[in-house]
Amino acid sequence: MKPVSFDYCAPQTLDEALDALGKGGPSASILAGGQSLMPMLNMRVARPALLVDINRIGSLARLAPAPDCLSVGALVRHADLLANAEIRRGWPLLAEATSMIGHPAIRNRGTVCGSVAHADPAAEHPGVLLAMDATVVIASASRRRELPAREFFVAMLTTALERGEMIVELRYPRLPAGTGTGYVEVARRHGAFAIAGVAAALTMRDGVCQSARISVVGVNDTAFRAEAAEAALRAKNLGAAEGARAFAAAAREVAAVVNPIDDVHASSSYRRHLAGVLTQRALEKALARAGGN
């Protein structure tokens, strides 16, 4: 349980880090919170030749809630989001999902951007990123680009990041007035990775659904938006009886598009069942929180 030998640098600025990453080529890795990378190093599943530790780059710790958008820099830890009252109020979906990640010591160190870059299919952050149509800001030594969340996750543990690139920031838009959100998951115990989880947001006006966003984690090889289920809710009246029918229909749409794995934690059919049930529960939570709209 000891890592292979590697070179290590801890630059003080982003430019130096991007430079080191570029020169390091395919065998260089960013070290952020280390809560996913260090276990892989200890188990020798990952064998990078160079670690570029970004923990000394103060500018990356920027966490900035603004009227239209929340910026989350590459060194913002899960615990930083939870400690911020403005985020709990303005971006409740992000706060709710983050509270279910791991344990205090994990949340103190692990970063939001690291979780998105790692792209574990059962992780909470990719689901929230998709549900909120957030933007991933990417930089390398030679260029900067922005990608919508929907273009970022490619396959299990695989993203659109190219060699020499890192995530420098995530931007979460503020959801429109009249929106309620809910995140629910089932895990073996608090803090374990989700067997299945669903993030939902409903924007309501006069009891009618203006827009629905549903993303699902833990069941397919990446987190994904359940577009057919969203379409089934749009423009629907979500009053008591109609709402229950519409949510059940959305749950069926989700169960129909998932393709879950079988493993020691849960069978494929149980995960499919959960994806449907959790969709319904997340939607109920979101609707209740959309309040009088």
């Binding site: 590697f6 070179d7 801890a10 260090m38 344990h103 205090p104």
Partner: protein, 159 residues
Amino acid sequence: MAKEQRIKLSVNGRTYEKNVSVRQSLADFIREELNLTGTHLGCEHGVCGACTVLLNGRSARSCLTLAVQADGAEIVTVEGLGAADGTLHPLQDAFHRNFALQCGYCTPGFLITALELLRQNPNPSEEEVREALSGNLCRCTGYQAIVDAVLSMAGKPLA
């Protein structure tokens, strides 16, 4: 970019300056270079919590932290809790009184984790205690006595 680097850090209030291999974990550094063997290693991949220490006042897995990353940091391990004359810290005393340990392997990690909780939230509910301790595994006690010990500290001074 050497494979070795000189680091200077404070552990339990004492300053140390040493050369470390960059791939050495903070846990191995504390145990093998400083001979502070109260920090235990159960899994070396973040799951059991036995190696938890305070890093600049916040709990962290020392098996998932490199020693070089602690350059300039302040670390507290279980050895830093009690007084120099061996008097137990009030939280250690609460563990003692509540039979919250048997073999003791997990205890250092539970103490550090519970200390952080009580500093942030001096009056936690049972649910909050269980959530905070959810990342620490104990194979002996069945947890109830540990939860009782932490709850018995509610509202009490930590020093």
